[in-house]
Point group: C2
Chain length 272, copies 2
């Protein structure tokens, strides 16, 4: 019952911040990660396309007989989580709910800022999740389309990163937020520059950390946590494993990792 | 013989700068444009994936019985043009050759800078094409990964655009180029800010304009130019036609355009 791995997927490498948090929170678990680098990014695609891609990704991971699947992608979590839950037989954990819960609890003023991709912001998923818990909350969301390419270029500090961060986060100023949710799995890599711009008065909620904690709680509640010392991780990517490896080192803070290329015919168009 | 349209494709909206140049150079021709917005960007994908996507795009366009196909994408032109030529029965025109030719002719010092996506730069296609024409040329190439997302965000001027441009173009300074090739179809939209950074002493070669001129010459040489006044244009996109329409207005300088969504099953996995 507790033998299966934790399966994690993302449109690309962003979900690795969730993997990093999982490795810290539940080091005894096996992890299988799939990054759909052949079709990244999802954040500018239509809802229908995001749903189709997400289900194909989840189906690829089902072959590892996981005990649960983490959709480590805010875009998928905000637009396709219910669709995945309907079509997949194991529990699916997204990254929105845990982050929204943490923000709703942490905020004193109830004024909460969300930053994410266009699709995540357009979905209003964080607003809905936060206001379910705390109906008085005032939530403002801002899309930051340059953040993902900046991270993937390794541009996580310096003049450009700071100027871009200052401009995007300036969009949250009108309501004076006291809590900021990093609503995209790439953004924790930019935490340093974001912190520099917001100053210490704003609390930063990292969805990756919150999601890892939620997974840990779920495993304990369901009694399906793995025993000690049986961890391990496998990486799969649908394109360009060399680029994935390069970025994985940046995201995981590891020195190296091994990645298996998944040929598209192995999972695209797998039928309904 | 001269009845078919000019078929143009790109990974997304970038090829619209080529369409704009074609509309100016050969206004009498019908144009069919396909933007593969479901799988954009191509610039960070592997060579094998780029070839497969390009052939699927070209096959979709063949149903319109075009007299020629323009691969209006530097990434495709640099990594998949020979592959397309082997697998498609109509002439295929890329965007590299014409730009390289124009740069080789325009440069006085033979010191030429190329800017493009990671895939275009890694392919060294511009260097090879320029040095075939002008073996003494010294070519330096620089990937500018933030330029495409900047354009798609509409961020084509202002502090961030200028700072990013200054940083990337600074990478060309060591050899003191007198000619700069915009080796990505998105980049003509940034011509203003690029010009501001380079100053007037550097000649800017716009691959889109050069490609349109090359198509015009080819039609005349082959005697397959259309008659007068029969122009017109149709747009197809594989995802998110609303976003395509929004960006098309920016790229074409038009006030509106109509876009048809192509369902993925209509052209993905069409067999060998």
């Amino acid at each position: 019952m507790s033998d299966g791995p934790i399966a994690v997927f993302d449109s690309g490498v962003g979900g690795l911040t969730v993997v990093r948090a999982l490795l810290a929170a539940i080091p005894g678990e096996r992890i299988v990660y799939f990054g759909d680098t052949a079709r990244v990014p999802y954040g500018t695609r239509s809802k229908e396309t995001i749903r189709r891609y997400a289900l194909e990704d989840a189906r690829f991971l089902l072959r590892f007989e996981p005990k649960l699947i983490v959709a480590a992608c805010n875009t998928v979590s905000s637009t396709a989580l219910d669709y995945l839950e309907e079509n997949v037989d194991v529990p699916v954990v997204g990254v929105i709910e845990a982050g929204a819960m943490a923000a709703a609890k942490a905020s004193e003023t109830g004024r909460i800022g969300i930053i994410g991709t266009e699709a995540t912001v357009d979905s209003r998923a964080y607003e809905r999740a936060i206001q379910r818990i705390r109906p008085d909350a005032k939530v403002i969301a801002k899309a930051c389309p340059l953040f993902v390419p900046m991270v993937e270029e390794g541009r996580v500090e310096g003049d450009v990163a700071e100027l871009v961060a200052r401009e995007y986060l300036g969009g949250l100023a009108p309501i004076g937020v006291d809590t900021l949710v990093l609503g995209c799995t790439h953004y924790p890599v930019l935490k340093g520059v974001i912190r520099k711009v917001t100053g210490d008065a704003v609390g930063i909620v990292d969805s990756a950390d919150e999601t890892a904690n939620a997974v840990k709680r779920l495993l304990e509640e369901e009694g399906i946590a793995a025993g000690e010392g049986r961890g391990g991780i496998e990486f799969f990517a649908s394109d360009n494993p060399g680029r994935f490896r390069h970025l994985a080192v940046l995201f995981l803070g590891a020195t190296t990792c091994s990645v298996t290329l998944v040929e598209p015919e192995d999972f695209f168009g797998g039928g309904a």
